[in-house]
């Protein structure tokens, strides 16, 4: 009686390319996933011509072969996270000394380096896949009251998938290496000040930084040779255990103490901090210096469920630097 193959044996690797043409054959970092994988993508259509028989025409390939990973979700590992961040924030400024090096990521919206991704085939691992020349299409960061690792969503679109062998990173990240988590860390926000204050009522949050990457086929190309880079956009949502009226009044009345309709948008700030489960000196911070926090007025519930509020953050360009500023403190002694 044959046994089915399980689908759990999976590590996905990533490595920064020195330029578009030079594809890596060695992982810089390999990490397990909560979900997702890079996938080869291609379109197929049918030749739509009139025919004596009322049957669809024969299929043909569109010539748009490329690869994408739209639903990768990683735990936030200490070293691996920096490689992901650098693929969207393309400047890393390192300061500090062993064992705690601070990586401040900046230049969001600037040109970003090319990435190679790789993984073994889940079916036994004998076939190795290499995904060439990818450009990060976005990252997300989320956590909730259930704890565990900060969940890092990663989207990437690239040019050519190949079956090609590669060398694993040594060591690859595992869940025993520890991870960044919000449990035990400090979450801050303020509805109308650039200096956020520590708050204890954040139940969950999701911050997404998206940059659409569009694979562009050409008339004669058999696979995609161009990637179109779109504009950066942001999506911030917070779920708060409601304890005041600041945001709901600010959103509609223009000030946290407002009482009449206003077009003024009050701006505040948000700071998400994570601690590392093993290395006390390591941390991860996401700072949003200027954001309008708009709360939807909560609705009553006869079931007496806890009163929570859904807050949407509309992120502004701050006085200096990026809309979202990641700072990672880990053991990597060189800039990413």
């Amino acid at each position: 009686m044959p046994l089915t193959s399980p689908s759990n044996n999976y590590i996905v690797g990533i490595a920064k390319q020195t330029n578009e043409a030079t594809v890596n054959t060695v992982e810089e970092y390999g990490a397990p996933v909560f979900s997702g994988t890079p996938l080869p993508v291609e379109g197929v259509d049918r030749i739509a011509v009139t025919d004596a028989a009322a049957i669809d025409g024969d299929p043909f390939k569109l010539g748009d072969q490329h690869w994408e990973a739209q639903n990768l979700v990683f735990p936030a590992f200490g070293l691996h996270l920096g490689r992901l961040l650098f693929s969207l924030w393309p400047t890393d400024t390192l300061t500090g000394s062993s064992p705690n090096f601070s990586h401040a990521f900046s230049a969001l919206g600037g040109a970003t380096t090319w990435q190679t991704m790789m993984h073994t085939d889940i079916l036994g691992g004998a076939v190795e896949w290499t995904y060439e020349a990818g450009q990060c299409a976005g990252m997300s960061f989320s956590a909730d009251e259930n704890g565990g690792p900060l969940r890092v969503g990663y989207q990437i679109v690239g040019k050519r998938p190949t079956v090609a062998s590669y060398t694993n990173a040594t060591p690859q990240s595992t869940s025993t290496d520890g991870y960044f988590t919000v449990k035990g860390a400090v979450l801050k926000y303020e509805a109308d000040s650039a200096t956020p204050a520590t708050e204890l009522n954040v139940q969950s949050f999701n911050l997404a930084v998206s940059r659409p990457v569009t694979p562009l086929a050409t008339a004669d190309g058999q696979s995609v040779a161009y990637l179109g880079i779109g504009k950066i956009s942001f999506d911030l949502t917070l779920t708060l255990l409601k304890d005041d009226h600041e945001m709901v009044r600010g959103a509609f009345f223009g000030a946290v103490g407002g009482s009449t309709p206003s077009l003024t948008i009050p701006t505040g700030s948000v700071e998400i901090n994570c601690v590392h489960t093993i290395n006390a000196g390591h941390s991860f911070k996401l700072a949003i210096d200027k954001v309008a926090l708009f709360e939807t007025p909560p609705e009553p519930d006869p079931a007496a469920s806890p009163l929570t509020s859904a807050v949407t953050g509309h992120i502004f360009k701050p006085a200096s630097g990026d809309h979202v500023k990641p700072t990672l403190i880990n053991a990597r002694a060189s800039a990413y």
Binding site: N19, D92, T93, L94, T95, T113, W114, S320, A335
Partner: protein, 62 residues
């Protein structure tokens, strides 16, 4: 030649060129760094303009 200062000798910078070329790491071993490399200048110029940057301009010749 453009020269950049760092707040201390631990500063390193990695960046990206306009076509996605990897730039650096640029190591400020002595607290200052001189370069005529256009890719490095592009990365360091942008960084030095930030308010809270550990990298600053010493001089810049066009």
């Amino acid at each position: 030649m453009p020269t950049y200062l760092s707040k201390d000798k631990s500063v390193q910078v990695s960046g990206s060129g306009p076509n996605g070329e990897a730039v650096g790491p640029i190591v400020f071993k002595t607290g200052s760094y001189k370069t005529e490399d256009a890719l490095e200048v592009g990365v360091l110029d942008e960084l030095a303009l930030l308010d809270d940057s550990p990298v600053s301009f010493e001089q810049k010749e066009e």
